[in-house]
Structures are given as structure tokens and as C-alpha cells.
């Protein structure tokens, strides 16, 4: 009898104490990290204006934890990378557990990483999770004289209501100052994709081609081989990079206002 009682009470608590969950859709729990982008941007080393830089673009991790781990291990074997971009679709179902799993894996990177919103990250409570965990959906940071303009282009998630991408915000942030000589735009959905607000494709591409100092616009989302799109066959390159789910990432070399991109398969 005593044995049975003991077994029952043991089972009651056997599953452990740290896994109580209020909802799969909860925005945070007591261990959830906050403002990771601000933390990572602060940890970027200072480099003089004009120093050549090499960055890694990774995107579309979704639920591919094995590939994400392999990616982090791969990048950690290199010593030539300044920082890593996680370019959207961090999660698949917009669930906290997915954001936390990918964050835990990317926290293993030896270099800073900056995360951008993807369409899957706006599903369910995803937006609130992203905002609390990483920060604002549109933001900028400077590195070695280049201003990186990171923004939300996931127009379909707003039912193409004309607000996303926010062209006014982009215009206001496509500005150079005494510390910056060039601009690089980064966002998840490329303007060539059906998930980009169709009414904003031309204004967006026009703005990019009219912005002095803008070197390139970097995208992910399409899970295809690295490709380059030009508005009318010339001007600003829109680079569409391959996905972590395909065991691929992209290296960007930026030097003297020139950019070149190379896809790496791991």
C-alpha cells in the first residue's frame, strides 16, 4: 500500500518542474530572453570606416534545428566572419518554443547575430514574441561605415494593406552621416515574390534605385539558389539568398561600396 502511494506521488512530480506552460501561444515565460538584437548590436566590435567586411546571411531556419546546429558549427570553424544575419522565418508556426530553440542554437555563434522578421514569424502571437525577444521590426545599425537598414517586407501578413514595407520609414532611414558612407538594406521577402505587397513593388524598387550610397538589398524567403534581380536589368542588386533548411548560407563581401555574394553549402 505504501509503495502504491509512493509511486503515485512520485509520478505526480516525475515530469519535472521547469516545464509548466500556460499556452503554446504564450509570448514569453520566465526564462525568455529580451532585446537580443540590441544586445548583439552592442557586442559588434568597432571597425574603422571603409574596412572591408565579410558577413553571413542565413535565413529560413524554421523547424530545421539539425541544419541550424550544423550551420552554427560550420560558421564557428571560420575566423573571417564579422557577424551573422538571421534573415527571417526564424520560426515556422510562430510559436515561442520555436523562437527559443533557434535562439538557443544561434546563441552558440562566436560572432554576433542580428535577427530580422519573416512571414512565418508574424503568425499567431509571433509578432509579439519577436518584438519582445529581438526588438522592433524595422531597425538600423552601423558597422565599419555601412548602415544596415533591416525591415519588414512581409506584406501578405498584413493582407497587402499598403503599410508593409513602410516606405516612409525607409526614406527616413536611408540616410548617411559622418560615420557612414554606404547603405545595405536587409529584409525577408524580396520584391519579386508574390508575398510582397504588389502595389508597393515599383515604389520600393524605385526608392532603392534613387537612394545615394545604397549598395544592395538582401533577401531570403524563396529557399532557392542564390539569385540576383535588377529592377530594369541594372541599378541596385536585389540578392535573394538560399535557406538554412537547404543547408545553405551566403557570404557577403563588402569593400569600397562594392558587394559580392557567394553561396556556401554545408
Amino acid at each position: 500500500m505504501k509503495k502504491a502511494l509512493f509511486c503515485g506521488v512520485f509520478l505526480l512530480f516525475a515530469f519535472g518542474c521547469n516545464s509548466d506552460e500556460y499556452s503554446p501561444n504564450q509570448v514569453f515565460n520566465r526564462n525568455t530572453e529580451k532585446d537580443v538584437n540590441a544586445r548583439e548590436i552592442t557586442s559588434l566590435p568597432q571597425k574603422p570606416v571603409g574596412t572591408p567586411i565579410k558577413i553571413v546571411i542565413s535565413g529560413d531556419t524554421q523547424r530545421s534545428y539539425k541544419e541550424a546546429i550544423a550551420f552554427v558549427n560550420h560558421v564557428n570553424t571560420r575566423s573571417d566572419i564579422d557577424f551573422v544575419i538571421l534573415n527571417g522565418d526564424i520560426s515556422d508556426f510562430g510559436l515561442l518554443s520555436e523562437f527559443e530553440s533557434i535562439l538557443k542554437i544561434y546563441n552558440g555563434l562566436k560572432v554576433p547575430f542580428i535577427s530580422i522578421i519573416g512571414n512565418h514569424d508574424l503568425v499567431a502571437n509571433g509578432r509579439a514574441i519577436y518584438e519582445r525577444m529581438f526588438g522592433p521590426l524595422n531597425f538600423t545599425f552601423n558597422y565599419a561605415g555601412v548602415r544596415f537598414v533591416c525591415h519588414d517586407t512581409n506584406g501578405r501578413e498584413y493582407n497587402f494593406n499598403g503599410t508593409t514595407p513602410n516606405l516612409t520609414w525607409l526614406k527616413n532611414n536611408f540616410k548617411l552621416n559622418s560615420e557612414t558612407t554606404h547603405l545595405v538594406a536587409i529584409s525577408h521577402v524580396p520584391p519579386t515574390d508574390g508575398d510582397f505587397d504588389p502595389a508597393l513593388v515599383n515604389p520600393y524598387e524605385n526608392l532603392f534605385n534613387q537612394t545615394p550610397g545604397l549598395i544592395a538589398s538582401i533577401h531570403s524567403h524563396r529557399h532557392g539558389k542564390l539569385e540576383t534581380h535588377y529592377q530594369h536589368g541594372k541599378g541596385i542588386p536585389f540578392l535573394i539568398t538560399n535557406a538554412i533548411v537547404n543547408s545553405a548560407y551566403t557570404i557577403l563581401n563588402i569593400k569600397n561600396g562594392q558587394i559580392n555574394a557567394e553561396e556556401i553549402n554545408f
Binding site: A4, L12, Y22, V123, R156
Partner: protein
Amino acid sequence: MGRSMLKKSIFSGLIIIVLATAPLHAQDSFFNRFKPDEVNIQYAGSIGFLSAGAGYHFFKKKTTLSFHVGYVPENLGGEMTILAVKFEYKPFAIKIKDKIIIHPINPTFFPSYTLGQNFDFKFEKPQYRRGYYFWSSALRLHLAFGTEVKLLTNKKSKIKALSLYAEANTNDLYMISWFKNRELAAFRDIFKMGYGVKMYF
């Protein structure tokens, strides 16, 4: 009245109804017919920070069908109201004298539905083409295992028993993700805990 105020009042209203109807007097035949066999209050368990429920027993009390309303406050994980219907099966009962019954493992299935503008039964056309996102953001299908320790009261008492229970649950999306990454994590890692108390009539 704001949206969240409205939700809060609906939620507290439901809790009051559940609690108030539970011990209703026997001569009230209408309520008596719908009087639940059990009521419960639960902490966590993926259907709210706190949830309240009422249940009915079937098949020699081995099966329970229960209805739950749960709430997550803004400061504990983002405001949410969740509805759930649980189907619980109690295959084993270990009796200790006339005082205690232990149900060591109770397989349970429950759908849960999260209310609010961020959640939809499905991703609707024309915003999304068919199959764009294949799942439902509002509806989750949960698989759970519970353990319950039931303390029996005096047979003449209106309250027949009080119990403590723990429940480990997972859901369809966690299982899909686990299957894709099954070399990385144990199946038990996707189970989330909830704890509660029940009152039997």
C-alpha cells in the same frame, strides 16, 4: 468597454457560473440535471495560467468529459483566453483503504481553442491561397497523461472527494516538430506540465 476588459469580464463571468452552479441545491431540477460530477481549478497545462472546468462521468466513472476556460494575464505571457474540452480515461485505480484512490496514469485527449484576433481556425482566402499555412493557429490538438491522487470524504458529504492531479501534455505542432528533429530531443521533452485540484460530487 475595451476588448481586453470585455474578455476579462466574460472570463470572470464563466468562472462564477462554474463555481456557483457546482454546489447548487438538489431540488432545483433544471440545474440538477446539468450539475457536473466534478469541478476543477488548474494551474498551467497549456490552457491558461489558471483555468476552471466542470466535468461529467461516463462508463462506470472511468471516463470523464470536461469543459474548461483558461486565462493568461498580460504580464504572465500575453493576454489570452483559451477554451478546452477534455476526454479523460482512467484505466487504473489503486485503492488504499477507504481513504485514497490513486489513478496512476490517465490518458487524455483535448482540443484547445485560443480566442483573439491573432488566432484563426484557418488561414482564409483570399489573403492566403489554399495550403499556404496548413495548420490552424487557434485550434490545437493535445495528447496528455495525468496522474491523480483522490482523497475520499465521508460518504454522507455532498463533496465525495477532493483530488490533486498533475498532467503532462503535448500538441499536434510540437509532435510535428519533434518528429522532424527526433534525433535531437526525447519525446518526453515536448510534454508540458499542469497541476490542479478537483472536487467530486
